[in-house]
């Protein structure tokens, strides 16, 4: 989510609220006979406010689960989640007087630390990374479809290699329309076949097939495969340059396509990595948030009792 001017009201409101809370806290902590305590009137107020903000932030998941509910715009919920969640942590610190307390409260506070920091990291990632991704990965696709697209790329590469090899071996039937057109334009009148315009080279064809089987297909079919030569743009380019020397210029466009397929695979791998970074924090943030709310509710009830 881009944190832009549309957040101004939430930002100003949150910072103002935090400033008021801080302004109240300083004299309260200085003049409390035994220091700030969660059970005092002021401490309880901070605790209740902080927990309500946490609850609101936690309700975002429910709001997303039921998008048809008429309870405000999803964007507003997201902004509220972001800013109220942000100030809930200092409020809870004020509530406890910057002490983590006993076992339950210590566990709660450490969970909150992780939730809060992961939230901030997540917000920063969501702010910066999508733009970075757009600039860096023009061939990105839907994350969940990367496996499927990778398979399609492998198939496309196989076809291209087969087509190239056929052309090299003189099989007209498997030559592409374009090759046939090129041959026709370059061919002679006297019953020459299309393939006769190309120099048949069994050895090069075999090398290309070997390249497909040993390098290209394994690379395209396997996610990541960072150790393979084709995972590095410069190495991949060098390999394709060697084939360009061996292949006639008419077939260089096929090599360009193959190289482009490898580039797309590299981008998909990179997208996959960035996606894990962009969304991986949620694996910490969301589960810990639920645990925090659950134990926080226990703490609230117990604190009222004792």
């Amino acid at each position: 989510m881009l944190i832009d001017r549309t957040h101004r009201k939430w930002f100003v409101g949150s910072i103002a609220g935090l400033a008021v809370a801080t302004a109240v806290y300083i004299p309260y902590s200085l003049h409390s006979p035994q220091g700030p305590k969660g059970g005092s009137a002021v401490g309880l107020t901070y605790g209740i406010a902080g927990f309500l903000f946490m609850l609101f932030a936690g309700l975002l998941g429910l709001r997303k689960k039921f998008p048809v509910w008429r309870v405000g715009r999803a964007q507003s919920w997201m902004r509220g989640h972001l800013w109220l969640g942000f100030i809930s942590f200092p409020l809870i610190l004020f509530h406890g007087g910057f002490h983590f307390g006993g076992l339950l409260t210590r566990v709660l506070m450490w969970m909150f630390v992780f939730v809060w920091i992961s939230g901030i990291v997540g917000a920063a990632l969501q702010h910066f990374m999508p733009r970075f991704q757009t600039a860096q990965l023009p061939m990105e696709t839907i994350y969940e479809q990367i496996d499927r697209v990778r398979g399609q790329l492998a198939e496309e590469a196989g076809n291209l290699v087969e087509e190239t090899c056929s052309a090299l071996e003189g099989e007209v039937s498997r030559a592409s329309e374009r090759q046939r057109a090129m041959s026709a334009s370059a061919g002679t009148q006297g019953g020459l076949t299309v393939a006769s315009g190309l120099q048949a080279n069994q050895q090069v064809s075999a090398q290309l097939r070997q390249f497909l089987d040993n390098e290209l297909r394994p690379y395209l079919e396997r996610a990541g495969a960072h150790a393979m030569s084709l995972a590095q743009g410069s190495q991949a380019h060098a390999m394709f340059q060697q084939f360009r020397v061996l292949l006639p210029p008419e077939l260089h466009s096929n090599l360009d396509d193959l190289e482009n397929i490898c580039e797309e695979k590299r981008q998909l791998d990179k997208q996959s990595r960035l996606h894990k970074i962009l969304h991986g924090w949620l694996l910490v943030h969301i589960p810990l948030s639920y645990a925090l709310l659950l134990l926080g509710a226990v703490h609230a009830v117990v604190a009222l009792k004792f």
């Binding site: 305590k37 339950l104 360009d256 117990v302």
Partner: protein, 452 residues
């Protein structure tokens, strides 16, 4: 030349349009973690509750004094019948502790827990915050409307008055002449005609080994003679000056050369006179020929030369010798330290000593805690003091050099109110009746019994 093109149509054909309906590993992970982490947290909490009772709710470690019943929350958190709330109230504290009133004229009595805050770790509960005291003492008001103490004290370094004995017009009421300056001079004549250099701890000690260096022969060791002055430790206050312990070795009380170094008792004039009558009576009975001897008194005061008198009989001889000895004692020996008032009779009245054991009646001071220092580091005026009436107590500024309310936080010694003052008036303390068994305090904890 690149032939691959990425049109929207081509890209759309790549996508499985139902992809969102099938769970992706990332979503699956998120789902299961969202279930399992809270479940683990809840499980942890239930386990804690099952094994540690209510300890998991504790907001922090108990103080050292209460750590023994950490498991027994209900000892302090007493639940009223049918109520959910289990806040700590004073009754729970008073079940074990007596808490005498601070002052009869106080307008407000805080709850125990307002000052003695628990669950703050292994600390001393009496280490209360200054704010608990200044809540009243910053603007002191009393029930009778009269201010008995300074009415505006906000801290040891802020508006705390000078110690009462040092305020103007106060003098040491000791009653015995003592010149500190003189006693600390080098080469003083000490016991058995030796030259000595006295130091402070020759006379001023709390407890410890050794004997009093200038005490009478046979005087008890220091530790055995140390008064506690109502304080549980016997190393807190200095021993009160006593003739036998501090003076007798140098300030001898010989009364007549016939008796060598024998001394009169350091007691009331009547006792001294009775002693003299007996000793001289015994002597003349054993030496009847001495009645007609004419000997000048063995010690004379140069400006007041005493003419020797000749007795006609033993009774008169005893009377003359007792008079001579008393004259020597009361004109010189005793007078050196005591104030003597003529009564019209044969014996003067000796002013009673009135040493001050605790100079600060409303505050505690621990000499033992300051034992690493020179005495004169704080009692700075001692070496120049020539008058008995000099109050040699250090002033508040001396204390403030080390003690500050912020204590260790300001790289200083503790300076909060509790360091010197006690809230409860323990002179009014009542004995507390025990009401708990070991099981009640410790819960179901089993003590291990050695096998065999």
């Amino acid at each position: 030349m690149l032939r691959r093109t990425r049109t929207t149509k081509k890209l759309a054909k790549r996508i499985d349009l139902q992809y969102f309906a099938r769970p992706h590993p990332f979503r699956r992970w998120r789902f299961w973690l969202s279930l399992s982490i809270p479940a683990i947290a809840l499980g942890w909490f239930i386990m804690q509750r099952a094994h540690g009772g209510q300890k998991v709710y504790s907001s922090g470690q108990l103080s050292r004094a209460h750590a023994v019943f950490t498991e027994q929350c209900a000892l302090c958190h007493v639940t009223q019948a049918g109520a959910f709330i289990a806040h700590v109230n004073d009754k729970a504290c008073l079940a074990c502790h007596d808490a005498p009133l601070h002052h009869a004229n106080q307008t407000f009595t805080p709850e125990c827990a307002a000052c003695h805050v628990e669950h703050k770790g292994a600390m001393l509960l009496q280490a209360t915050a200054d704010a608990a005291c200044t809540e009243c003492h910053a603007q002191l008001s009393t029930r009778d409307g009269q201010a008995h103490y300074a009415t505006s004290i906000t801290g040891f370094d802020n508006q705390h008055p000078e110690f009462a004995p040092l305020r103007s017009g106060k003098a040491d009421p000791g009653g015995v002449r003592l010149n500190h300056y003189l006693h600390l001079q080098p080469g003083l004549m000490g016991p058995n005609n030796t030259r000595v250099q006295m130091t402070c701890d020759d006379c001023h000690r709390t407890a410890g080994g050794g004997v009093w260096p200038y005490g009478a022969p046979g005087v008890l060791p220091v530790a055995a003679t140390q008064p506690t002055l109502g304080h549980p430790s016997n190393q807190v206050y200095m021993a009160l000056p006593e003739f036998a312990k501090h003076c007798a070795a140098c300030h001898t009380l010989q009364f007549d050369k016939r008796f060598g170094n024998e001394q009169v008792p350091h007691d009331k004039p009547e006792v001294v006179r009775a002693f003299l009558l007996k000793r001289f009576g015994d002597y003349i009975a054993a030496h009847p020929e001495a009645v007609h001897e004419v000997n000048p008194p063995d010690r004379q005061i140069p400006e007041r030369v005493r003419v020797p008198r000749v007795a006609r009989n033993a009774a008169e001889w005893v009377q003359f010798r007792v008079d001579d000895a008393q004259w020597l004692l009361y004109a010189k020996t005793c007078k050196q330290c005591h104030t003597l008032t003529p009564t019209g009779g044969p014996l003067p009245e000796v002013a009673k000593s009135n040493f001050t054991a605790r100079w600060m009646a409303h505050a505690e001071f621990d000499h033992h805690a300051h034992r690493m220092m020179f005495c004169t580091a704080c009692h700075t005026r001692t070496t120049d003091s020539r008058e008995t009436s000099d109050v040699l107590l250090p002033g508040i500024q001396t204390c403030q050099q080390c003690h500050r309310p912020q204590g260790a936080a300001k790289e200083a010694a503790e300076g909060r109110c509790f360091e010197c003052h006690e809230y409860h008036d323990w002179s009014k303390a009542k004995p507390t009746k025990g009401g708990f068994t070991i099981q009640q305090l410790r819960g179901s904890i089993q003590t291990s019994v050695p096998k065999g």
